[in-house]
Amino acid sequence: MRLPLSDLELGETAVIENVALPEAERQLLMRFGFFDGAEVRCSRRAPLGDPVVYSVDGSEVALRTETACRIFASPVDDKATREQKG
């Protein structure tokens, strides 16, 4: 199931499948670790709900919903990930 990053629940992890943004923005986001195949966790929301902070590549990066809604990812079943890694 593919959904935009902005739809992730708090604490949910997903693997990015497609960054549907213009090239310059894609490049910028890639520098922060948002690229196809990267694992992203929705770690917290700003007090007013937007932007949302994502854990990506060991750092915490905040994106506005307007950006996050154009990054598509498939959620990872947490249990499955743990088994894979373990």
């Binding site: 690229f35 007090p47 932007p51 060991g58 915490e60 950006t67």
Partner: protein
Amino acid sequence: MNPLLQIVASSTTRSQQQIRNVALIGPPNSGKTTLFNRLTNLRQKVGNYPGITVEQHTGVMALPGQEITIVDLPGVYGLNPYSEDERVAVNVLNGNMDGVPRPEAVLLVLDATNLTRHLSLAAPVIALGLPTLALLNMGDLLTRRSGSIDAVKLAGDLGIPVAIVSATMGTGLEAVGRFLECANSPIKTTLPIVQDVRECRKWAARVASESDYRPPLPPTWSRRLDDILLHKVWGPLVFMIVVGAVFQTVFGLGQPLSNALQDLLTDMGQKAAPFIANGFLRSLLLDGIWKGVTSVLVFLPQILVLFLFIGLLEDSGYLARAALIADRTMSFVGLNGKAFIPLLSAYSCAVPAIMASRTIENKRDRLATILIAPFMTCSARLPIYTLLIAAFIPERPVVGPFLGSRALAMLLLYVLGFVAAIGTAKMLKSSVLKSMPAPFVLELPEYRCPTLRSVGLRLMDRGRVFVQQAGTVILLVSLLVWGLTNLPLHQCQPPELEDSVVAHLGHLIEPAIRPLGFNWKIGVGLLTSVVAREVIVGTLGTLYGRDPQTRSVSLQSALQHDLTFSGAMALLVFFAFAMQCTSTLAVVRRETNSWMWPAIQFFYMTGVAFLAALVVHETLSVLN
């Protein structure tokens, strides 16, 4: 082998060439600036690259027997020319930047606790073929949080020497000197196509894992602090307390310090007076130069207090959280959260506020912030506000004992400035400064304890830039105004004020300001207060003091006799909007590196002020 991999062709070794110029490059938040300060021991120069707004920092590093110039490049994640900062870095490294010699070696700073991500900058830098030393900064943090890296393996993979350092602690830095003594070009190694960010990322991940990189454990402290500081309820509460404290301190501590400095400097001028021959020279030195210079210097305490706060907030990592909390609100006017602190500090003084706008990376957002900042009610407006309100608005309780009519008038003037700022921002952001959809990406760095050294350095840096840059411009303008009050000469004597060029100018603009209810004296005040808003009070004092009719009364009652109520209100509104501040214009010129923006800002704000004052005067005249 992956066809996308290429071989770096750089067989020429440069071991014999002496190194004089070195470039320091690294991603934002890699501790590059701290390292730069360490290496140069404060022997630095700040300027602008020609033609653009990017700041150029150069410093001198002393090695036994020679001195090396270090250029601190802007923090970049890559070398693709997407942003102005990256273009600057590329141009300097390729020797295509006017006035900056091509560096013979590169120091590449990477955050050891974030190595997988930061390593992707290594590929394009190594590909340049210059002798390069990779400095894995924050090595102490990596170890403390149980991470590790095999530096020897990493050096083998990258084909360049690698040193683990800590810029904050000052450890491991002797490697820089050793490297610069006998720097070699990178050994041939496989690198990805450097234009392809994704390939660089993959390559970085592979290199990191081959070098046995174990990332540090997540910073539990930071996460726990964020649980509070970004909490739904506590987050905004702490935010408001912090904001209140900044506002209160800049106002409550900076203002008295500014006043004390003003008294001290005036006193010094008066003490020096007897030692200078009376006449032309004394007038030039004291009224011209000294007054001009001191009118700038008095802003220094406020600037230093504000930057002390910004330094503490930024170095501790809280500024990024504040931007996150404020972003939602700021987005309503088309700006992002990073514009919040500059606009807040503009309530004290637009000069430091405009300097603080550097934390906004998006050029258009930064420009919009710079353009609206002077609308916020700065402390230089208070003298004229207080004078006119006291003279024309009778004190009456409005909201019981809590709010009187005078305080309400003051509050309304604050609101007026704020509304003008927001309206202008909205207008700019939906037209000329409409951003290309540059997404708001904000990295939340780990919380760190700010060091005295780095905060102190920042204060020195900002203070020096302010005194140097704004000081030279305001000095020239003050000299000009002084010259105009002393011309034309009659038998080698300066004229009476009424016969001076300034008075003629006052009469000249009188027809333009009469519809606002102002007379020629106010006109002269408007002219001189272009230097600084509070100057109008002094100018009016001098003018009414020379007038035989008002000589013996206070300025307040002189104004009551000479101005109508509607004219006084129009003058208040005029000052709420008008751009009467050379220091601000000088700083805007410096920060935007163009005369166009300060010119537009000046005419726009003065235009708005004129129209608003006209409307107020007409309306009140009709009502009366």
